[in-house]
Amino acid sequence: MEKKDIIQSFKDSLFTGLIALALFGPIVGLRTASKGEGLFITPQWGVVFLLVGLCILGRFLINLNSARKTEITFFSKFTSKFSAITEDKAKHFAITAILFAVVFPFLPFTDRYFMDVAIMILTYIMLGWGLNIVVGLAGLLDLGYVAFYAVGAYSYALIATTFGWSFWICLPLAGVFAAFFGILLGFPVLRLRGDYLAIVTLGFGEIIRIILINWYEVTNGPDGITGIPRPSFFGLPFKRSPDEGETSFHLFFNLEYSTMHRIIFLYYLILVLALITNYFTLKIRKLPVGRAWEALREDEIACKSLGVNPTNTKLTAFAIGAMFGGFAGSFFATRQAFISPESFTFIESAIIVAIVVLGGMGSQTGVVLASIFLIGITEMFRDLEQYRMIAFGGAMVLIMVFKPKGILANRKPTILMHGDKK
């Protein structure tokens, strides 16, 4: 390490500090406070200087680290170890993770809060796996995936409240509706690729949300739909005092009534749904249609020259991806028992896309890791209230810095001629 390098990195850190000052100055430094009548600005320069100082120090340390120009720096050691674990032992990891997920509700430290977070993470994992078909395999960047989530949730809510059918009938119907909307979106965007496709799908997501807000007669507008039936355990409802002629879950199994029963049931429900999504994706990836999706992602013109029908291939990707979004949507509706357009804003789409991209496009395990990381970190910092989005952003930046291709970016061929050599 030469003196010149140190001066250079010191200059660079000062420049970083300047940018930090420009950003933090107005955002953090000038705080509005209401005193008596009207708003006043209270400056808090101490905090600003602390933050700027941290930025300068951090940048300086990173510079020193990279200036050493050796392979085995702290960070690369960390990341290479991490990828070694996950690449070689992806299968072991998957089995362990599933086993852990199965016993999770009965672990001693698991309480209601943990269960809720786990259900949320699993919902995002399922959405991530569903979107992975469209974005990861078929390479169609869909920024409006939440639309299918919304269609699934509203289909379930409307069918269940209107006809009173059970969850298990409404679930596939919601999936079919969502798939139909997937095809509906698919048709106009067949010719689009990349940025243009992203813009149109983004618009589609907003269109669905705005329809939900304005179509008051059907969707009840911004008030949302209340009283969505809770799922029952094969006909046994989770109620303290069941209606006349009904047996509820705790009475049937001779248990003491607890609200946890329903939570645990919901947890296993979403776990099974998510695993079905995963199993289906892993299977279909090895079928001709799955290979055609990936080929389409690689080169559409070459696909055409080989007789692959790009229209059908894209539409199946949209439809199947949307279907799983719809399943997740019905689960969401039955869990919340209340839905409104508020739950289906663009930020949801953005989070799902972030999970897929940061997990490593097309990687199933990557989606799991990214969901746990992003949703878990955001939840851990829930006490910070509005600052928790900083934690979310920070988590994204960390992944992008250390794993620019996503947490797990390795792709295994769908079929091998010489068998597995490893």
Binding site: P288, K304, L416
Partner: protein, 263 residues
């Protein structure tokens, strides 16, 4: 030898520019027909018309079968490969780079496998009928990989192969759709002399062993003269000469087109 392809009065205009002007030629079964000409002569445009990427302004293209002939104008897009069985390769290689070599060859057999998998239904149920069909497809891929000597790399990503091997892989990938007509757009571009010789061998093999006619665009004259049965020379979208390789070499018009005319 029977006619395979007849192009009649083909014209392609892009606005005011006439890229192909009233072009007619024939290509025969089990023969290699080369289309040569200086840069910008309209060779690739002919290919794009034949393979459905462009819709010609005027003219007809017929593909002859045993007892009938079909008009290629009727087919566009992916149907050229799927229904009419015209396959092509590209000037800049278009493999699926992060898919394995074997997967590349299986995508080329997509339509048969799709039907065999009952549009994914039988495949999801993992029925034996589908698994057998998939094995057949793998066997076919292996057959072609043996021919180009790439079997040992079947499970590697296509993008990781050396350039020459990628060229050969693209050709056999096109062969996996069992084409009646194979259109090769500058297959020898960027190859060293040894690789060119291997390419010649491969093309000769396809020509004699398979029921396929080959249409070839090429600048490498050692390839053109070495293997062509018939040569069509284009300049500014017009056919200026047609004949065997030897006739072409000695043709005054062709030499003038390439080297210019003495003032």
């Amino acid at each position: 030898m029977s006619n395979l392809l007849s192009v009649e009065n083909l014209t392609m205009k892009f606005g005011g520019l006439t890229a192909i002007d009233d072009l007619s030629f024939d290509a025969k079964n089990n023969q290699i027909t080369s289309i040569i000409g200086p840069n910008g002569a309209g060779k690739t445009t002919v290919f794009n018309c034949l393979t459905g990427f462009y819709k010609p302004t005027d003219g007809q293209m017929f593909l002859h079968r045993e007892d009938s002939k079909i008009s290629l104008r009727k087919y566009t897009d992916f149907k050229i490969a799927y229904v009419a069985k015209v396959a092509r390769t590209f000037q800049n290689i278009r493999l699926f780079p992060v898919m394995s070599v074997l997967e590349n060859l299986l995508v080329a057999q997509h339509n048969e496998l799709m039907i065999a998998s009952g549009y994914s239904l039988f495949g999801l149920l993992n029925l034996k009928s589908y698994r057998d069909k998939e094995q057949l497809a793998v066997d076919k891929a292996k057959y072609w990989l043996d021919i180009i000597g790439l079997t040992h790399r079947a499970d590697d990503n296509a993008g990781d192969l050396p350039y020459g091997d990628q060229r050969k892989l693209e050709i056999v990938r096109a062969m996996c759709i069992e084409p009646r007509l194979l259109c090769l757009d500058e297959p020898a571009a960027g190859l060293n002399p040894k690789e060119s010789a291997e390419l010649n061998k491969l093309l000769k093999f396809i020509k004699t062993e398979k029921q396929t006619g080959i249409l070839l665009i090429e600048h490498d004259m050692s390839v053109v003269m070495g293997i062509s049965d018939h040569v069509v020379v284009l300049n500014y979208g017009k056919k200026i000469f047609e004949g065997t390789a030897d006739q072409t070499k000695n043709s005054k018009e062709v030499i003038e087109a390439y080297l210019g005319v003495d003032e």
